[in-house]
């Protein structure tokens, strides 16, 4: 059974007051996410990621198509018991403390008062909210609200958790903590469906991704299988090489381009063949000192730019 399954899921909004026109926020999305997967839902802003998540949460209703979670239609009360959801830029009741908020949400799942308290405390520990949990949420920063948001999404030990931009508003340390938490969830057998516009988040976490642009699904599958993200070459930064050695390497075809990046420090563009280990070994033998070696490939941003410039056409439907 798929954890999440959508079929031709479509959402139109009507925009414009004087001349209302339907705007296609999501256009025929068909997607399957398997149980236990960490699934990255990627795309630039406005690609339809949040719309999809809201449709799955039944915060909005589809114009056509259907969405199932755990084999039942989205919005089913039984399904809601078994899932968690973090909205984009979450916001909560100003007048409650973090502890009270989590206990309130826990109560909605029918837990006993003692159980509510232990679950709330444990999750706040887990997302790194310390003594601040006794403060009213109005005093919380954006990053802290994001952490509380993640905690509340996990209050019922969900089988499927939906995270809308979980890394946004967090500093690098926070991002790493969230990544670790997602991996822990995966190890527990939880299906994680998260949206992001940052490729690096997906690369380190996801078994599979879907890439969205302009309300349409562009491609879905494992990132490593996607041609657009194959390694095209290597960038090698070395120091301590003479111009003669560099010229010789260039003449052999081992090095495509040389850029001076500092005193006696060069950045070299290497082709895929010969393998970079070989070229590196040869250069080290001639007195080079390794600074860094990184693969060259398209970033998600490059990919988005290509898609957005390539896929023309208006998202407004022509009204007959």
């Amino acid at each position: 059974m798929d954890a999440i399954r959508t079929e031709a899921l479509t959402k139109h909004y009507t925009v414009g007051f004087w001349r209302p026109r339907p705007y296609v926020a999501l256009d025929g999305l068909t997607l399957q996410v398997q149980t236990g997967e960490v699934f990255g839902f990627l795309g630039p802003n406005g690609a339809g990621k949040t719309t999809t998540l809201k449709l799955l949460m039944q915060l909005i209703f589809p114009t056509s198509g259907r969405a199932d979670i755990l084999g039942k239609p989205a919005g089913d009360i039984d399904v809601k018991r078994r899932i968690g959801y973090l909205p984009e830029n979450p916001y909560f009741y100003d007048y409650l403390t973090a502890q009270e908020l989590l206990e309130y949400f826990a109560s909605l799942f029918g837990y006993s008062p003692a159980e509510r308290r232990t679950r709330a405390s444990r999750l706040l520990d887990e997302v790194g909210i310390g003594a601040e949990r006794r403060l009213q949420l109005r005093k919380f920063s954006k990053g802290m609200l994001q952490r509380v948001g993640i905690a509340q999404a996990l209050i019922n030990e969900p089988e499927v958790v939906f995270l809308d931009e979980p890394m946004s508003g967090l500093d690098p340390i926070g991002r790493r903590e969230i990544r670790e938490m997602i991996l822990r969830l995966r190890d527990r057998g939880c299906t994680v469906f998260f949206s992001s516009h940052v490729l690096a988040d997906a690369e380190t976490l996801c078994s599979r991704v879907a890439i969205m642009a302009k309300g349409r699904l562009v491609t879905a599958g494992a990132l490593s299988d996607m041609l657009a993200f194959q390694v095209r070459g290597w960038e090698l930064v070395v120091s301590g090489l003479t111009d003669a050695v560099l010229a010789a390497a260039k003449a052999r075809g081992d090095v495509m381009r040389v850029t001076m990046v500092g005193p006696a420090r060069h950045a070299l563009d290497l082709p895929l063949d010969p393998p970079p280990e070989k070229t590196l070994a040869a250069l080290i033998a001639q007195g080079a000192c390794l600074v860094s070696l990184t693969p060259i490939r398209d970033t998600l941003e490059d990919f988005f730019v290509q898609q957005v410039s390539g896929a023309g056409g208006s998202r407004f439907r022509e009204s007959a």
Binding site: I83, L86, P87, Y93, Y95, Y104, F105, S107, F109
Partner: protein, 267 residues
């Protein structure tokens, strides 16, 4: 069902934290000070004036709470996006809406109960200080019949709350407040509408005013304040019938609100 209670308690908690109950303190201070002032100014009629004033302020304070909290109940959740985390929890949208409604009703009832207690306390105190006071007024100072008037005020305010909630499921707070207050005023002048129908010449206009009279909530029916103050009989059957009217109207408005709310997109 249990969810409705949980949401309601949370609304009550919010109103306490937002210091809504301070209105009770304002009420008590106002009542005490006017009591003192009127005691200095008039003779004999002061019990009547204090009763009028007390009953009127209970209903006005209640009205302000009902309208100004009622219109924000749903709107605030949507505007601040807190509804995004709440609705995916295991609850139906109707349960959320009813929870909000009963939470505010709970706030109102507690508010009015405390104000009523303070009101009777002031009256009892006056009676203690001036033992002959009952002889000059139509009804005893601590007349239990006033509870009938207060009970009807509670039902009236429950209806106002339902109307405010109804409007707030699809319009802005400003518009909701305007519409709710407008309906409240129109509902109080409803009997004029009926009389108007009796004196206009055009039968179409007479029918129109008659139709409006039945469609608009008849808030004037809930007002028996002057009757209880003048010790005129208000039979229990009248109170019961008016309550039945109010509760049926509330059910009507809430079903409408739930039907709209259940289909709404939260963009």
């Amino acid at each position: 069902m249990k969810v409705i209670g949980l949401v309601a308690v949370n609304v009550f908690k919010e109103s306490v934290r937002d210091k809504v109950l301070y209105s009770i303190v304002a009420f008590a201070v106002m009542l005490m000070s006017t009591t003192y002032l009127i005691g200095q100014l008039t003779a004999g009629q002061d019990i009547k004036i204090i009763k009028d004033l007390g009953l009127a302020s209970i209903s006005i304070f209640g009205l302000l709470i009902a309208i100004f909290i009622g219109i924000g109940l749903v709107w605030k959740e949507v505007e601040k996006r807190s509804i995004y985390t709440l609705l995916p929890k295991p609850m139906r949208r109707q349960e959320f809406l009813l929870g909000k409604y009963f939470g505010l009703v709970l706030t109102l009832v507690i508010n009015i109960a405390v104000m009523t207690a303070a009101f009777y306390l002031v009256l009892a105190l006056m009676r203690l200080l001036e033992p002959g006071i009952d002889a000059v007024s139509a009804a005893p100072a601590t007349d239990a019949a006033m509870l009938k008037a207060i009970a009807l005020v509670v039902v009236e305010l429950m209806l106002v709350t339902a109307i405010a909630l109804f409007f707030s499921t699809f319009s802005s707070p400003f518009l909701s407040a305007l519409l709710t207050a407008g309906l409240w005023v129109a509902g109080h002048f409803n009997s004029d509408l009926r009389n108007f129908g009796a004196v206009v010449a055009s039968p179409t206009l007479a029918q129109l005013t008659r139709a409006m009279y039945y469609v608009l909530p008849n808030f004037s029916a809930f007002d028996v304040k002057s009757q209880v103050v003048h010790a005129q009989a208000v039979p229990a059957s009248y109170v019961a019938l008016t309550c039945a009217y109010g509760l049926t109207y509330i059910a009507l408005v809430l079903v409408g609100a739930a039907a709209i709310f259940a289909r709404r997109d939260f963009k």
